[in-house]
């Protein structure tokens, strides 16, 4: 779970953030003024400050917000001047937008606000549809508007070129004022709410921001998206009444409260119409008491009525935004906020504490109980708040000054009670002033008078102290230092302002508390000192008074481990997620642990090592584990039959353990068995699907046959027990223990399972390498889509949801429990992916498009192939590990484009689809997506916050000692990033450096000599110049055209070799790459039917081969190794086939072990590259791990 923030504002207008990993409220130091309200999203926080302006705080990210401005320079040819800027009168502007309709000279571009800055000057774009243009970047055409080409022809009469300039949003992590439109906004804002980020996937960063003005009008902020975080303008939304407060959920839910106490619900909000269309009225939950506050989430609505009662709205969802009924909830609150995952926070009317609703899950949206967040606030105050309290208290201070003797001579209890009858000039009005929020101030003044006055009492002594100093100038009061701020001076007990670190401060605080308790009962002689300590802001800190909370940016769910609830001494306990360990990471290095490790090895030396010749008291024997399972029988017709399964383990001759597994079955009434030696098993693959808990066992022979032993256990648990046991057994028999080595080869299946193999020394031997099918793979916990490594042990992964993960050095996790897993270094990992189904329709002349197809048609609800029926109701998550986390929604991000309702049209099924209807289209389809989530554990830790789509790590030679390891990545938006601070000890690095590109990229790879190659979304390749240790980001991109008529999709660079894969599955080798000409000269075809390539530090080439085309649309992959790759023959000769049936990714970039050298007469046979179409036994492939 990434770290995110809960935002809150206290009654003094100070803004605080509480991190999901944190244990204290941190004041937002940047806030130069007090805020009334804040509303947070993941990437930013909006607020209304006391000057009634709206401010935006965009959280800093390594990925900057860049906006590309473009304009076109147009020229026409004339016989006198050649091409010149003299155009015909009927022509477009000399400088225009792409359409030519808008006049856009370079100097017409202005920065939209002071939060932006130019990144550089204008320059000419010399890339035209993936091809480099001639110098100058001109493209030619016969006339405007027409088709442009990069080559000048005899009839080219006009030309144009594109100018680019980037501007960057610079106001990160700071409150930047949103320029107000004075003409249209007559009155100040009183409420604000942002949300709507889940209405559509694209464009990312899109937000809906709703605001309420003091006059009760509602405004919608137009045009907020990733590249324009501030939005464009305010649009007024017509209303049936006057609104006091509004709430916008993450998706399409918007509710508001009217002055009269009714609620209004926005209807018609959709992807195309985020503003919605109309309002519906919902009556207040209680007939005589109106609503004062509303908070909405994805599928929930919470309301507070004037009597502070809390209500939950039943039956709310996208289709029924009004819901169906009210449920009264426990608790009295003044406001409620709903954040991500429908989690709920509230501020209690009784003590103004922030409460978190525990136990809110998708099945139990109303949660279970309120739990107070009890963490302390940080110990500092910004100047603004300081000035505020000063100004407020100066007058009051004078009053209390006269009471000094009274204070010192009474018990602390009396002191607290003393101001309970406050004189008229106590600073009571300050609270309404600060919050300036009608109903909160009302509550404060009416209901909380006792509290208000107590508050005064708390703050008073500090002022008193200040006063004493300024007026009498001696140290009569028990203060020590010169007071810069009223609260900075204090008694020795006041630890609040000292610079001790957090933990210490907390324990001291606890001690202080204890002392104070005793002070209550002890004699009065020392009361004066204690009184001050107790009544200091420290006392106030125990009960900070909150005015507003916003959880929109706070990513928690009911499973999150939060340390918010007991502020003392929980640090070491809450983290022990693993059942087997109190051993939290700081303790790993503790002296006591070191001592135990050292003494145990010393004991072994003393008591065992010298006596190894002694006989063992207990002889080793055989251990058998048996069970019942089902087996996918070898003979036809294939089906599941019941079998007995047994694993016999024994000690091998050299003391290493070994075993045999037996499968006992009946063959025509005859008892038979099948067996496999554990030391021959090469891999155990779990194949979870929604009907059976199965796994596959491969041996080299079975890999060749593409026919594993497939077994099904009765329950998932049983399957995991067996898998864990067999896996330990296999590892034992091969003497493999602990984490994978740095040289390990990593691979990933289409299910996201992670496997790792230790390369044998002969794996890359020429000409007789270890056959690929003999490689032993073991599973590592976690769930990834991509994994990349290098030979110093740095491993990065990317999840299906594009989250970046770093390998922690552990092993096990997932279903490996107990001994097959390390105790530390294992963390929770989640992943999210979408399941897609298609709605298909056919046109008929009478009713237009309907869901009545021809009898020969595909199912009206189907999978992508149309072969299987997939309705919304019967489609299940991919396996029991996955759970649904969203509803079915139309997916607009389908290749080929869609219309406004998500439809794609075609002449007939199956055909190529397009996003608009033509006369020839008789069928249409649209894609529905539903998200599902998996939670598992593994040796992976998240690298927040940027989502990635590709990553590459410099492959090092075997003995190289690189300090800083270059790591490059592509964000899921296509930005190129360079990771700084990556070393073997800090594999996660420290920060991203954004490397500018003119278009989004999709694949990247760095070679051993820091040669960086990348593939752009348009399918062309780029080489990054001048990348070195001194200049880790290089200086410029060199455009390299793709092979003719092919769009490249992936690149991998080894020591010197550069390989790419195109979208048609061709593997290309870059010819002519030399140190002096690193871009190379041409692409040479190596093989077809390739899905992915990984080139290692020895220039070894491994691929995932696609299956035979056409057998199954969701084709699965096979790991293959290129044979006979040698320095003089970098393209190799043929493929060796390894494990297959659902493999998706492999990286061999950690394996830098040079093979032992064997000299043999050179091979004369240089047969042409063998096509991979001859994959054997493909039918079996699909059955092992059908995606």
């Amino acid at each position: 779970m990434p770290v995110s923030l809960l935002w809150a504002v206290d009654v003094y207008g100070r803004v605080y953030g509480l991190s999901t990993a944190g244990q204290q409220w941190d004041q937002c130091r940047d806030a130069q003024m007090e805020f009334k309200r804040v509303t947070a999203a993941q990437q930013c926080c909006w607020g209304i400050a006391c000057d009634n302006n709206i401010y935006l705080n965009v959280h800093a990210s390594d990925l900057s917000i860049r906006y590309q401005e473009e304009t076109y320079e147009n020229q026409r040819w004339n016989p006198v001047d050649g091409f010149s800027e003299r155009l015909l009168p009927s022509d477009r502007w000399q400088w225009s937008d792409v359409t030519g309709l808008q006049h856009q000279p370079l100097d017409s571009f202005q920065l939209p606000s002071s939060s932006w800055e130019w990144e550089g000057d204008w320059y000419v774009d010399e890339n035209f549809e993936g091809e480099p243009t001639e110098k100058g970047g001109w493209t030619y055409a016969i006339d405007f508007p027409a088709t442009y080409t990069k080559d000048k022809k005899w009839n080219s009469c006009v030309r144009r070129r594109r100018w680019l300039r980037y501007r960057k949003y610079k106001a990160m992590d700071t409150w930047a004022k949103i320029p107000s439109q004075h003409t249209t906004l007559p009155d100040p804002f009183s409420d604000i709410s942002c949300g709507g980020w889940e209405i559509s996937e694209e464009p990312r960063g899109r937000l809906c921001l709703w605001a309420v003005s003091l006059q009760g009008k509602v405004w919608f902020r137009e045009g907020i998206y990733h590249h324009n975080p501030e939005g464009a303008s305010w649009e007024e939304v017509l209303l049936p009444g006057e609104v006091v407060q509004i709430s916008c959920g993450p998706a399409d839910l918007v509710w508001a409260v009217l002055w009269e106490g009714q609620l209004i619900v926005r209807e018609g909000i959709s992807r195309d119409c985020p503003k919605g269309a109309s309002w519906a009225i919902v009556e207040s939950p209680s007939s005589d008491v109106g609503a004062t506050h509303v908070a909405v989430g994805n599928n929930v609505v919470w309301v507070v009525t004037k009597d502070n009662k809390v209500w939950f709205r039943r039956g709310v969802n996208s289709h029924n935004p009004c819901g169906s009924g009210w449920i009264s909830m426990v608790g009295e609150m003044i406001m409620i906020n709903v954040g991500q995952n429908d989690q709920v926070w509230a501020i209690s009317s009784e003590d103004r504490a922030v409460y978190f609703r525990q136990g809110v899950t998708s099945s139990e949206l109303s949660g279970k109980t309120w739990k107070a967040i009890t963490v302390p606030r940080d110990r500092d105050r910004s100047h603004s708040s300081l000035i505020l309290s000063l100004s407020v208290f100066l007058s009051a201070g004078c009053f209390f000054c006269g009471e000094v003797c009274l204070v010192t001579s009474t018990s602390p209890d009396t002191f607290v009670d003393a101001p309970s009858d406050p004189p008229t000039d106590t600073p009571k009005p300050r609270i309404p002033k600060v919050t300036s929020d009608s109903f909160i101030s009302e509550l404060v003044s009416d209901r909380e008078s006792g509290r208000t006055s107590r508050d005064v009492g708390k703050a008073t002594p500090t002022v008193l102290e200040e006063d004493t100093i300024s007026h009498e100038g001696d140290a009569k009061a028990p203060c020590t230092g010169v007071a810069l701020s009223p609260s900075q001076s204090g008694s020795p007990l006041d630890t609040q302002w000292s610079n001790v670190d957090l933990e210490e401060a907390q324990s001291q605080q606890a001690q202080t508390g204890a002392v104070l308790d005793s002070a209550d009962t002890c004699s009065l002689s020392s009361v004066a000192t204690y009184t001050l300590a107790m009544e200091d802001p420290y006392g106030g800190d125990e009960h900070p008074l909150w005015a507003w909370v916003s959880g929109g940016g706070c990513s928690v769910d009911s499973h999150s481990q939060l340390s918010w609830f007991n502020s003392v001494n929980t640090a070491s306990l809450v983290q022990s997620v693993q059942s087997m360990s109190l051993s939290v990471s700081p303790a790993q290095t503790a002296a006591w642990r070191k001592q135990i490790f050292e003494q145990l090895s010393e004991r072994t030396r003393r008591e065992i090592d010298n006596f190894k010749h002694y006989e063992q008291a207990i002889e080793q024997s055989v251990w058998v584990k048996k069970g019942s399972m089902q087996w996918w029988r070898d003979w036809k017709p294939h089906k599941w039959i019941d079998v007995h399964f047994a694993l016999e383990q024994f000690s091998g001759p050299e003391g290493n353990k070994d075993g045999i597994l037996f499968i006992y079955y009946n063959y025509y009434e005859e008892k038979k068995y099948l067996h496999a030696f554990i030391n021959e098993v090469t891999i155990l693959v779990p194949v979870l699907n929604d009907s059976k808990h199965t796994f596959a066992i491969y041996t080299p022979e079975r890999t060749k046959q593409r026919w594993p032993i497939r077994l099904a256990a009765a329950t998932e648990l049983e399957m995991h027990d067996w898998l864990a046991l067999l896996s330990v057994s296999c590892c034992d028999s091969r003497g493999i223990h602990g984490p994978p080595s740095k040289q390990a080869i990593w691979s990933i299946t289409c299910k996201g399972d992670i496997f790792v193999s230790e390369p044998s020394p002969g794996l890359e031997a020429v000409p007789y390498p270890t056959p690929c099918d003999q490689m032993f793979w073991r599973q590592v916990g976690g769930h990834l889509h991509i994994v990349e490594c290098n030979s110093v042990g740095i491993v990065w992964g990317i999840g299906f949801d594009h989250t970046a993960w770093i390998y922690t050095g552990g092993y096990g996790g997932g279903f490996f429990q107990g001994l097959a897993s390390s105790t530390d270094n294992i963390y929770t990992q989640t992943d999210v992916k979408s399941v897609y189904i298609y709605e298909n329709q056919r046109w008929n002349p009478v009713t237009g498009y309907t869901n009545r197809g021809l009898p020969t048609d595909r199912y009206m609800w189907s999978d992508a192939s149309g072969l299987h029926e997939c309705t919304k109701a019967n489609t299940k998550p991919p396996s029991p590990q996955w759970t649904w986390v969203s509803e079915w929604a139309i997916d607009y991000s389908v290749s080929g484009g869609t219309d406004r309702e998500g439809w794609q049209y075609a002449a007939d099924f199956p055909a190529s689809y397009h996003g608009y209807k033509t006369m020839k289209d008789f069928v249409r389809r649209r894609r529905w997506a539903r998200k599902c989530k998996l939670t598992t554990t593994g040796p992976w830790q998240e690298v927040p916050p940027i989502a990635l789509s590709d990553v590459t790590i410099l492959p090092c030679a075997a003995q190289s000692t690189v300090d800083m390891v270059p790591v490059w990545a592509i964000s899921n938006k296509g930005d190129v990033l360079c990771r700084l601070g990556v070393t073997a000890l800090t594999p996660a690095g420290s920060s991203w450096l954004h490397v500018g590109t003119d278009q989004p990229f999709k694949s990247i790879s760095i070679g051993a000599a820091s040669q960086v190659w990348a593939i752009a979304r348009d399918g062309s390749a780029f080489y990054r110049g001048s990348v070195s240790a001194q200049n880790p980001a290089g200086d410029c991109w060199y455009h390299i055209p793709s092979p003719a008529k092919q769009k490249l999709k992936q690149v991998s660079v080894g020591r010197t070799s550069v390989y790419t894969v195109d979208e048609n599955g061709n593997l290309w080798y870059r010819q002519g790459v030399t140190p002096s000409y690193p871009q190379g000269s041409s692409w040479e075809h190596v093989s077809n039917n390739v899905r992915k390539v990984s080139v290692g530090p020895l220039d070894q080439v491994w691929i995932i081969a696609d299956k035979v085309q056409g057998s199954h649309s969701l084709s699965c992959g096979t790991v293959c190794h290129r044979l006979a790759v040698q320095p003089m023959q970098p393209k190799g000769q043929s493929w060796d086939y390894g494990i297959g049936g659902g493999w998706d990714h492999i990286t061999v970039r950690g394996n830098s072990v040079e093979p032992p050298h064997i000299r043999l007469p050179s091979l004369t046979d240089t047969s042409s590259p063998r096509s991979l179409l001859e994959v054997r036994n493909t039918e079996v492939d699909s059955s092992t791990s059908g995606c």
Partner: protein, 275 residues
């Protein structure tokens, strides 16, 4: 980096080299040779000495043989204490191999329990596990186990099968994360130089404030004399599995990693050797 798992292995595979000699007083037909064996620290004497018995019976007449028992420097060795505890308690600073006398006569009924068969050891072992789980989980875990699971624990110990034993024992070592440890720590503190049996009381792993208690906290409460104060000469060694963990070691961790298979943390307090 060394892993906590390795501690479990080291504890399980701890061995004490032992030299068994027949007591002088036994009547033999010919001279008995000493018998050398690596004894598992976590097992029980009578469980692992079949070979010793067989060896000495070869030189004895059947009528001279009664129940076998062991003695070290005049002290009869209680078979129902784990072997490692016996060694740490009585012989921790002596020369290896550990020299044990074997007797077949004059069974000291006052000092030792009889051990007619290994089923007695099994009963003792299982009752210890149950007692420990009563302390740790109100017996919930052990009661949820099936008969065959109990058997697996016992067979694991009997046959020295670490994996087999721990596959089941790890369930006994689980606890709710939010509580930070077991309900009570099953421990026993043994004193050399004392005839009193071990100390065993209720002690929680975590203080009411949520602090993890350490080995030092436990001793302070149970056996303050064992702790060396500042400026004092060290009088006692606190030995667990032949090592002296630091007093600041968290008790919960010790219980999870340095407990014997019977799930008790056996702590020996022995005098510091005078040299």
């Amino acid at each position: 980096m060394a892993d906590d798992k390795d501690v479990l292995r080291d504890v399980w595979f701890g061995r004490i080299p032992t030299c068994f000699t027949l007591n002088q007083d036994e009547v033999t037909e010919r001279e008995a040779e000493a018998y050398y064996l690596l004894l598992p620290r976590v097992s029980y004497l009578t469980l692992v000495t079949d070979k010793v018995k067989k060896h000495f019976l070869k030189v004895m007449r059947a009528e001279d043989v009664e129940e076998m028992w062991f003695e070290y420097e005049g002290t009869p060795l209680k078979w129902h204490y784990p072997i490692g505890v016996l060694f740490d308690l009585h012989a921790s600073n002596s020369v290896l191999p550990w020299s044990i006398s074997v007797h077949f006569k004059n069974f000291p009924d006052r000092d030792l329990l009889h051990c007619p068969s290994s089923s007695v050891i099994e009963a003792h072992f299982m009752s210890s596990i149950k007692e420990a789980d009563a302390l740790k989980h109100k017996s919930q875990v052990v009661n949820d186990m099936q008969k065959k699971d109990h058997k697996q624990l016992w067979m694991g110990l009997q046959n020295d099968k670490f994996d087999q034993f721990w596959a089941m024992n790890r369930k006994l070592m689980e606890y709710p994360t939010e509580e930070g440890g077991f309900r009570y720590i099953p421990f026993r503190i043994y004193q050399a130089m004392s005839d009193r049996p071990f100390i065993q009381k209720l002690f929680r792993p975590v203080s009411p404030e949520g602090n993890a208690y350490t080995l030092g906290d436990l001793l302070k409460e149970m056996y303050p004399a064992a702790i060396t104060n500042d400026g004092e000469q060290k009088r006692y060694q606190v030995v667990i599995h032949g090592i002296e963990p630091l007093l600041e070691t968290p008790l919960q961790w010790l219980s999870e990693h340095l407990s014997h298979p019977d799930n008790f943390l056996h702590i020996c307090v022995v005098p510091t050797p005078s040299d």
